[in-house]
Symmetry: C2
Subunit: 469 residues, 2 copies
């Protein structure tokens, strides 16, 4: 466990002012308890944890608004916290202040089955929402691997295995209620499928990582549970052959619902961790949604492409239980990789490239890892060109993390050179700030900073994230 950073505390006067006033309406839900502060000092990433001065468990928009107004007046930092599953240090309160825990705001407020939309609070998790929707024949497709909250997913513009068919949070969110830094509450977007009604404040907030406002309500677009669903698994002798199959599938316009890659090493990890009945070979996991005929047509088309590339054992999984096990294993890939070598832990890259450069990017990443002598597992939402290289290092090696980050930097640089982005879905947080400058250039970062200063002039919202310095 990384030691807690020793950071000089804020001048206590503004903080004490905020805490005294906030205790009036939060009572015991404003906590300075040591173990609660420790739980809010980090996400699931390898960044050094930092203790917040206090944790506020808010239960309403009004409480968020009152608390932010106080913090704004006093210049006290606020770091939003959902389920704490960030992989890039988003929830680490690097300038201390208040960790704003939204997990108790977890009501599903509306489901409009006719219009296929819903309104939820930010602490609702994607699992909770789908359990709630199931008997209405609806589902919400965006599915990061973790038990994350929808608020966190808005903040990081999350995606997952279904994005290749259904899009990411950018497409899934129709509108938001947002509390601004000074406590003002606004509603963005609306309930229509499209609109040409002024600046797109909804999309400005999506992916802003808690630096522009705190999301307190989310309107989401839902989808009908497809009439038919089939999954398939196909294994290859080489990573290249698996990736080429993905590229051909996408270029043929086959509307796959999921097309996921695991390399041989990841398969070894998942076979051990999730008891998957496959060989430790490069593998594609696929899912098809549609009418019974449509699903068959799609699956046969991909099977033919895979066969051209030497794909073996195109195994079908039509029953829901087998499919459930398969996707659970895929979602547990991060944990499986972390468990592969006893005493090791991992960090993960999140590069995304244009689909035509995917084979080059993944085989190139593998070559860099081999040259660096690092153990890695690769998984990817490859239909979107997004791949994660999990870099494993001995937790007790003082240089292990530095070496892992050095490889991370090389893989990102390679991805950027191929026309890619440093983050497909995890966001920037602390870990990818230097890459953001490389990717966009200083001028674009200046413009982003200008927008931040307009909406949060005192810089209280999740300070230290996205931008270096």
């Amino acid at each position: 466990m990384t030691p807690l950073l020793d950071i000089t505390p804020l001048d206590t006067t503004p903080l004490d002012t905020v805490l005294a006033a906030a205790r009036d309406f939060l009572g015991e839900r404003l906590s300075t308890n040591a173990s609660i502060r420790e739980q809010h000092s980090r996400g699931e990433d390898a960044n050094p944890p930092v203790l917040p001065d206090a944790v506020a468990f808010v239960e309403s928009t009004e409480e968020v608004s009152r608390l932010l107004a106080l913090c704004h007046a006093q210049g006290v930092p606020v770091t939003p916290f959902g389920a704490g599953t960030s992989l890039e240090g988003h929830v680490v309160p690097v300038r201390r202040g208040i960790s704003l825990d939204l997990s108790r705001m977890n009501a599903v407020l509306e489901v409009n089955a006719e219009d296929m939309d819903c309104l939820v609070e930010p602490g609702v998790t994607r699992h909770q929402l789908n359990d709630f929707l199931r008997d209405q024949g609806l589902f919400f497709p965006v599915d990061p691997g973790s038990h994350c909250t929808l608020g966190g997913m808005v903040a990081t513009r999350a995606s997952g295995t279904n994005a290749v068919r259904y899009g990411t949070m950018r497409e899934a969110v129709m509108g938001l209620e947002v509390v601004l830094a000074d406590g003002r509450v606004i509603t963005t977007g609306g309930r229509t499928r499209k609109a040409a009604n002024g600046y797109d404040l909804t999309r400005l907030m999506i992916g802003s990582e808690g630096t522009l406002g705190v999301v307190t309500k989310i309107r989401l677009r839902l989808h009908g549970i497809p009439e038919a669903t089939t999954a398939a698994v196909c294994q290859f002798d080489s990573l290249q052959a698996a990736v080429e199959t993905v590229i051909m599938t996408m270029q043929a316009g086959i509307p796959v619902a999921r097309i996921e890659l695991a390399d041989a090493e990841q398969m070894r990890a998942s076979i051990a961790y999730s008891k998957l009945p496959y060989a430790p070979l490069p593998t594609l996991f696929l899912e098809f949604h549609g009418s019974p005929n449509g699903v068959r047509e799609q699956a046969e088309a991909v099977e033919a492409l895979a066969a051209e590339m030497g794909g073996k054992g195109f195994a079908w999984a039509e029953d829901a239980e087998t499919r459930g096990r398969l996707w659970k294993a895929r979602h547990d890939a991060w944990w499986a990789a972390n468990a592969l070598y006893p005493g090791c832990r991992g960090i993960t890259t999140d590069v995304c490239v244009p689909i035509s450069r995917l084979a080059e990017a993944i085989t190139g990443a593998k070559a860099l890892a081999e040259a660096a002598g690092q153990n890695t597992c690769i998984v990817g939402h490859v239909g979107d060109g997004n791949y994660h290289v999990v870099i494993l290092f001995p937790a007790d090696d003082p240089e292990g993390l530095e070496k892992a980050w050095a490889l991370d930097r090389q893989i990102v640089a390679q991805g950027l050179a191929l026309g890619g982005t440093c983050s497909g879905e995890h966001g920037i947080g602390l870990g990818k700030r230097e890459f953001l400058v490389q990717e966009h250039g200083a001028e674009v970062l200046d413009i982003m900073r200008g927008l931040k200063a307009t909406l949060d002039p005192k810089g209280i919202l999740n300070p230290g994230k996205l931008f270096l310095n």
Copy 2:
């Protein structure tokens, strides 16, 4: 023809300074010719035209940058101009200054068939792009009715008949090159299918109507021309029955590529103007894209739903020529409506509502029109809940336009009360500024103004649009 407004000219010193400096690099492409200024005084809407002081026909990003830097330094207004097809006064230079004509920046710079994306200049029209793409098996789906430029389509977050399947400009644009008010040039977005890499500047620019920057390059997502395409036409005895068919189709999740409504009056207009071989009854025009089996399955499903609602003569149009005539007639609906009553002209509403409220919204609009004694034609991209009421008035009646606008206001108010938006696709411009405040509230408008002030501190970019005052 509405008379030109008599507006007090700007202090000529800053303008003369800009014109003298700009003439150095634009030469004769900086014009003060009266007929060229008149051509740049209006779009296709009924707002009073205003003459710009000069028109600049730019040919490169560098020219745009140099010109904006000059105008920024001198505080001279700049109004971007593409094909001049705006329906909401976007191109009217209400504070005079310079009309920035981008129509000569019309090169297709890149097509990446493997990744299905392209890079174009803003003066490329959607027709030009699709002609260019056709022999590569690709197409660009967003299709407003007019011969508009892609730059104008970015500015207004345009959509059209295919949006129900392929999305609007919000989904179609992957990235932009933008010249900011002070002449700085930035690149937003990228070539990957998804990214979680900082604030979404691309979507902030899309729909900003030329008030935040001037778009000089556009990266667009393309689609493969579907293996099979079928169109169908179905007629109904009542508007209600036609709209209910749409609602059931959308709720069943049938992935129609197009589902367009014309009311009896619009059909009368289009039969006369486009020689359509149908009866003057409420009509749905549909198109299905997919595999041959998939297309058949979709069309049969909609045919069954239409039959339930008493739909008659589900006529199929499998050949490309018949389909071409059909969609040309649909795209010409605005001109057909304007030609229906000799001596009349039209304005059009652009309300969009949640699909469950669509029947109520359209029959309600028709009732308001009848109560007002106004002739109207209704067309709609009804799969998206978007409908246009074309309100016709005698061009020589001095009160005609005022009466039309009064009905427009009633229809918008009704749409907003049903959870809708005042603009599905035409944008705000001059004509819908009061509705934008009604829809979002003053606080949201203040935030939009704040963002505008950050990016365009002197307010030179398309002043007078989006915001009242």
